[in-house]
């Protein structure tokens, strides 16, 4: 079966991740209720005419996608895949508020047109004049993972060589406050901020020098806590790995009552395993897990994790294989294996 490599990874997030790799030593935990993304100067990537009509998510998505393609030196991918949990919530709210405020009168189409979930994927295709396979996944905390699985499938089945894949979610202005309110009412609710961001990758069948390989990805709609160990074990075995082959974990802890899933998974490994969490920096959102892949990619490329982030010193001489694990409210579990070649 064809191997799947990651040629580039670009993220716009609440940390300064877009411009350079310096963010890794500047990470700051965010204790706000919401975490806005640090926005690059979009004019460098999108014409000012187009920019005026674009909502935050579309700007972030198109820009992150453009840079990911540039970094991978790909002008036209064979497929464009996006994942988004809340879709274009800014324009959705705008159009909905206009319906409510004007009682279904005097409406204009722009916000409606841009409220559809596939807007980012469509705008990227339009910008590149790319007529190839194009798909958008909108399945809560598995939105990005579904897009990534499709990318893996396209490459493994030789349907595509280079695939652009990304996860996008924007905060929006109003709905998010209702979500935040429910979390705050619940003592076991999400403790990290609600965030936003866009993270894009170019996946490829081509093994470049120092390439990072996406070994495998699996997702499960439902998994009981007592099934985590066996599911992990099966996943590692299918990829001819033992627990001791995993050099680092990237986990999706968000401070809520379901964080013990991560504890359950971690307890299957040596207590000294290198383990990092990221949602305290970028916030929780349905496609936050795309950032885990971005960070995993960066760790394997740079072999660097700041010591302040670690409970234990890295015990291994090098980090070769990383496991990413995420879940949301005890469901929508995803396991991803990354390996440096």
């Amino acid at each position: 079966m064809t191997s799947v490599y990651i040629h580039s990874a670009v993220s716009i997030s609440a940390q300064n991740t877009f411009e350079s790799d310096a963010w890794i030593s500047q990470l700051t935990s965010n204790s706000d209720k919401k975490a806005k993304a640090i926005h690059p100067d979009y004019k460098d990537y999108i014409s000012s005419l187009a920019l005026r009509r674009m909502a935050t998510g579309v700007k972030m998505g198109v820009t992150a996608a453009t840079k990911a393609l540039k970094n991978a030196e790909i002008s036209e991918p064979d497929a464009i895949l996006t994942g988004t949990g809340m879709g274009c919530i800014e324009d959705t709210e705008k159009f909905l508020n206009n319906i409510i405020a004007n009682d279904e009168e005097f409406l204009t189409p722009t916000a409606f047109i841009q409220s559809t979930h596939n807007t980012v994927g469509a705008q990227i295709a339009l910008g590149l004049n790319c007529k190839m396979y194009n798909n958008t996944y909108v399945h809560g905390a598995l939105s990005f993972e579904s897009a990534l699985m499709d990318a893996q499938l396209l490459i493994q089945q030789s349907e595509a060589k280079n695939v652009l894949v990304g996860g996008i979610d924007e905060l929006g202005a109003e709905f998010v406050d209702s979500v935040r309110m429910l979390e705050d009412q619940n003592s076991h609710g999400i403790k990290v901020p609600i965030g936003e961001g866009a993270t894009f990758f170019v996946m490829s069948s081509e093994a470049k020098e120092n390439a990072i390989e996406l070994l495998d990805i699996q997702s499960f709609s439902q998994l009981k806590k007592e099934e985590v160990a066996k599911t992990l074990n099966d996943f590692l075995m299918e990829n001819n790995l033992n627990h001791s082959d995993i050099d680092a974990l990237v986990l999706g802890n968000n401070g809520d009552g379901f964080d013990d899933f991560y504890g359950t998974l971690s307890s299957e490994f040596s207590p000294h395993i290198t383990s990092i969490t990221y949602k305290k920096y970028i916030g929780e959102y349905f496609t936050a897990s795309a950032f885990a892949l971005f960070w995993g990619f960066k760790i394997l490329s740079s072999q660097h994790i700041p010591e302040v982030l670690l409970q234990h010193k890295i015990s291994k001489s090098s980090i070769k294989t990383i496991l990413l694990y995420n879940q949301f409210k005890g469901r929508d579990h995803s396991f991803i294996l990354l390996k440096s070649c």
Binding site: L96, T108, L128, D150, Q157, S219, F220
Partner: protein
Amino acid sequence: MPSTEKNKAKNRVAITGMGIISAIGNTLEDNRTSLLSSTSGIGDLTHIHSKQAAHIKVGEVKLTNDELTTQLQLPKDTNFTRTALLGLMASKEAIKNATIKDMNEVRTGFISATTVGGMDKTEVHFKEFRTQSETQKYISSHHAGDSTQKIADALGVTDFVTTISTACSSSANAIMLGARLIKAGTLDRVIVGGTDALSKFTINGFKTLMILSDERCAPFDADRKGLNLGESAAYLVLESNDMALKNNKKVLAYLSGYGNANDAFHQTASSDTGEGAYLAMLKALKFANLDASQIDYVNAHGTATPNNDLSESVAIQRVFGEKVPDFSSTKVFTGHTLAAAGAVEAVFCILGLQEQIVFPNLNFKTRIPEIGLEPVTTLKQKKIQHILSNSFGFGGNCSSLIFSKP
């Protein structure tokens, strides 16, 4: 490699069950009866209070939310949105139709499509969420994955579950992904389709685009005035042919080809050349290893908007040349059911293969002058082996599927 002819044959994707709820019936058999009697389900908007009601015609599912909740034996205080209710009705029928007894006897997935998600409840309660606690159960039901999760849980699918949203081609892409996962051997069986409820949000959205007709829609007619929105849910059960044969399953049809392309022309309008549609149809034919002349019937996207029908006609002529096969749009029966449309029309294609009948493009009178194509306008009995079905959406997303008789 799976792309070799031998493996293609070996990994054929069999359709072993289907279910549907639409404006022309709450069950598969009701839908069949309405199609065979040329009875359209387009009428007045009754379930949603909207100022637009007097100016539009829609394809409403006749059952109310309360009736659906009772039929599905859900608790009265459930937070199932109408999208989820419709989806559960149709998917349960598909599973029964496929005689699935134990969901987890083989690796089974569920892939659903939606555009509105939980909007039917969000638009009613949006301004009450912060203050009225009884409405807050609909906060978590807003996102597009929610109806899929609820349906998967109710059906007992715990493994691979996902949701696709590419506007009006969504469920065609759900069917396509399911087929690819079966061919790759990732899943043994997968339930695929889509669900969309009518909402004020979509009604007003399409209204601002000025593409809603105040009469029953007339696809491919020179004087077509626009589309009728509809609501519906439809699902297919896909299995690997090997497994279906091994278990003596009745194969309703084969999904023999599929193609996905992007028009890359405009966020909402289709190109004059129908490039995306043309590419999607070509890809599907190539994948099925069929010549265009082997297609006996095209179930067109045919929304009855001036733009779509012209663009699609051009694309069809580019693919089929002088010999355009029988074609029709069945949106005259159900309205345009958005994310569900691809799955609804997949069910109609399979019914067409079973009955060996082309369902009519009602309301057609005059050919589009610059095209000169005439759809099938009355029930037409004929030998049908292969049907091509089109679904195109905002964002240039174009998908085509080919269904073949066993």
